[in-house]
Symmetry: C2
Subunit: 76 residues, 2 copies
């Protein structure tokens, strides 16, 4: 079973990578970019009988730092 | 206008981060994980009149390394 986990910084948390991308886009001449936020897309191939609690555990224990990040799981 | 850019490694390209996550999940006791691949999710807020060619240019010039990465743009 294929899973997609989207990990994004919580609103209000400073995003230095997003800032760096935003700045670089400007110096490359791309106008009209108001904001950039960078997160992670983690694609997992897991056994079909993996239940939601286990997936949640993977996210909370490793894939996302729930103090500053949100995560969303999509079964592909 | 909000855009989501998904940047993923091309199949066959070695993914050390994915490997590290896979290994860590195993040591945390999560069984049944067959593969892990990590990519980037870049969320941009751009002017409404930003056209596809410009967005494509941002991806090709900065957001993705098209030699080893694929990218997909989603208008949110």
């Amino acid at each position: 079973m294929k899973l997609k986990v989207f990990v994004t910084l919580k609103p209000g948390v400073l995003d230095p990578q997003g800032r760096a991308i935003h700045h670089a886009l400007g110096s490359l001449g791309f106008e009209g970019v108001q904001d950039v936020r960078q997160g992670k897309l983690i694609e997992l191939e897991v056994a079909d009988d993996t239940d939601d609690a286990t997936i949640d555990g993977m996210c909370r224990k490793l894939l996302a730092n729930t103090v500053i990040e949100n995560y969303r799981v999509e079964r592909a």
